[in-house]
């Protein structure tokens, strides 16, 4: 299992460790304090602690009978230490009922009842079997009817220290509460303190577009701890830019290196005397040129992320179709455009959509050779539809046509990549390509663009 690493966790741990250290130091200080306190003081401390425990644990069972139920491992343990002492006794009374433990000395009983309620706590010495003990009478401050009298204790020093640390009014319960609070605050606050500046860096990283020489993450307002990370990130972005630039240069020079010999080849073909041979060679050269173009287009598209802008699909389609009219006319084909006068607003990359429409129109012209009419429609629902009256594509093969290097019509000099490029461009725009039969025969290719979203300007 992969561990989720958090910065907040070690930081919180350090805080908690710090608290633990404080506890150790306080323990040492408590022991030191104990050593400096006199015996009576220590004994009184121990008795007060147990009296507090008993008062806290007092309650009534379901029959309404008074009982003392001490909860918690440590409290039980402390009471255990006391109860293990042979002379230990206590008397707990709520005014009507009372509980006793051990043998309450007769001499003490009379003192207890003689003391007025206004005296909340009083300690006294008594002797029992010639031994001198400290006794304590304590009233519950919230409920003066509840009185606990306790005595018969002679504790070792260790037991007394333990009591001082763990007793109800001891040091550890207090420190534990502080520790728990610190841990909670540490986990919540540390996480937030770290997450806020990291979040700022993440936000500015998210705004980086894929353009070469594009934005960098600003290290303004970035905490010192995060600056190396931001710098490293920016260095990585520069490297990506360089790689991008290298790829662009490669494509440009590949294009040049391939096209110049193709141009020479094409020009030389005019010297071929036999028209039959010449036409075949001219067509092959055109096909080769088309492969070069589409391969480079495909490489270019997969190598860069597109920059989106607001586009009027109707106006753009009109301009592109207009450019293809002269060559269509040469092959005896008419292109008709049906587009609304109003803007058809989409969000997209103009160069990429231009490549898609160019490919679509060139494909249609190529596959529907010999037919007279090509119709390009722009629908208000952000769709461009190109309808030809050529042989069409069988339904079973349509899916394949959207993958590179699949050619529908082997007789035509298409490269088989035109529709794949169109599909790729449409995917990048969150749109779709649909191939269907044209009414009366032929193919309809529809490009549907998604509605303009606020997050894509």
């Amino acid at each position: 299992m992969k561990r989720r690493r958090s910065i907040a966790f070690p930081v919180a741990s350090i805080l908690i460790l710090g608290m633990a250290l404080i506890m150790v130091i306080s323990t040492v200080l408590t022991i030191a304090g104990f050593v400096l306190t006199d015996t009576q003081g220590r004994q009184k401390l121990a008795l007060e602690s147990v009296a507090g425990l008993l008062q806290k644990g007092a309650g009534y069972d379901h029959e309404g009978k008074l009982s003392v139920q001490v909860n918690g491992v440590i409290s039980e343990r402390i009471l255990g230490i006391f109860e293990a002492q042979t002379d230990f006794w206590y008397l707990f009374s709520d005014g009507t009922q009372s509980i006793t433990h051990g043998t309450v000395p007769e001499s003490v009983r009379s003192i207890v009842s003689a003391l007025p309620r206004e005296v909340f706590a009083s300690d006294f010495y008594y002797t029992n079997d010639l031994k001198r003990y400290l006794g304590l009478r304590k009233l519950d401050q919230n409920n003066p009817d509840r009185v606990v009298v306790i005595g018969g204790v002679s504790l070792t020093n260790t037991q007394t220290i333990l009591l001082a640390l763990w007793g109800t009014e001891g040091l550890y319960p207090l420190l534990s509460a502080v520790l728990a609070a610190t841990a909670t605050i540490a986990v919540v606050a540390v996480k937030r303190t770290i997450a806020t500046p990291v979040g700022r860096v993440v936000n500015s990283a998210e705004q980086i577009d894929g353009l070469p020489g594009g934005r960098r993450i600003s290290d303004h307002d970035t905490p010192i701890e995060l600056k190396p990370m931001v710098a490293a990130f920016n260095t990585a972005l520069s490297r990506i830019d360089h790689a991008f630039e290298a790829q662009r240069n490669f494509l440009a020079s590949a294009s040049h290196e391939l096209r110049t010999p193709l141009t020479k080849l094409r020009l030389k073909l005019d010297l071929v005397q036999d028209p039959g041979v010449r036409d075949v060679l001219v067509r092959d050269t055109a096909r080769l040129a088309s492969i070069v173009t589409t391969s480079l287009q495909l490489a270019r598209l997969s190598g860069q992320s597109l920059t989106f802008a607001a586009i009027d699909l109707a106006a753009m389609t009109r301009t592109i179709v207009a450019e293809h009219v002269p060559s269509a006319m040469k092959q005896g084909m008419e292109i008709e455009l049906k587009a609304p006068e109003e803007r058809v607003a989409i969000s997209g990359s103009e160069p990429a959509i231009r490549v898609a429409l160019d490919n679509l129109i060139v494909n249609a012209m190529r596959h529907a050779q010999g037919t007279e009419m090509l119709t390009v429609e722009v629908l208000e629902a952000r769709t461009v539809r190109v309808t030809d009256h050529g042989p069409g594509i069988p339904a079973a093969e349509r899916e394949n046509m959207l993958r590179p290097f699949v050619r529908g019509n082997t007789a035509a000099d298409g490269t088989g990549m035109g529709l794949a490029i169109v599909a790729q461009i449409m995917t990048a725009h969150g749109g779709s390509v649909d191939l269907a039969d044209a009414p009366g025969g032929g193919l309809v290719v529809s490009l549907a663009f998604p509605s303009v979203r606020a997050d894509r300007p």
């Binding site: 096209r259 141009t263 094409r266 207009a322």
Partner: protein, 223 residues
Amino acid sequence: MRILIVEDDRELASSLKSMMESSIGVADVFETIEDAEAALLAFKFDLIIIDRNLPDGDGLSLLPTLRQLRPRPATLVLTALDDPIDIVSALDKGADEYVGKPFEPMELIARARAVLRRYSLDETGHTQFGNLSFDLINRSAMVDENVLSLPRRELAVLEALIRRAGRVVQRDNLEASVYNIDDEIESNVLDSHVSRLRKRLREANCNATIRTIRGIGYMLVQE
């Protein structure tokens, strides 16, 4: 017509030279930007065909020199760089036309002629398309030797179409070159101007005609 070809590939340059000489006019070939610049300053050329990847840089760097020449030659850029950004940058820097490699010889000649037509209209106020000649200074059109008298609007339509002969002129652009901003344009006024002009050309036995490209605009073609 005198043509300057800037191309470092000798075979390609010689093919271009013979193509141009058989269809348009005398051509000189230079292999570097530096030599081409020297030639431009020494002689007058009507058309320059520039390749982009040249031994001493991008052929587009000749464009600023060209802009300063009076009269300025028409510029056609040959480009193997087919990234749309490259094409836009060529046109932005002042090229009149671009042709992508590889090209059909006839396509190159047609583009060169189109560029020259626009160029001569701008430089001399006169141009020719088929047997139709157009004189911008006298604001007149002639078919062969016969003067074609045209109303102002129809002349403006013809001028816009002959500037881009062989290419589609979008309806909006045509309207913009025929009417002022203040003119009230009724929806079919342009169509009636075009159809009257078309009729006049036909009656004058002109071999150029106006084709309607449905949904886009009009195009002047040679029959």
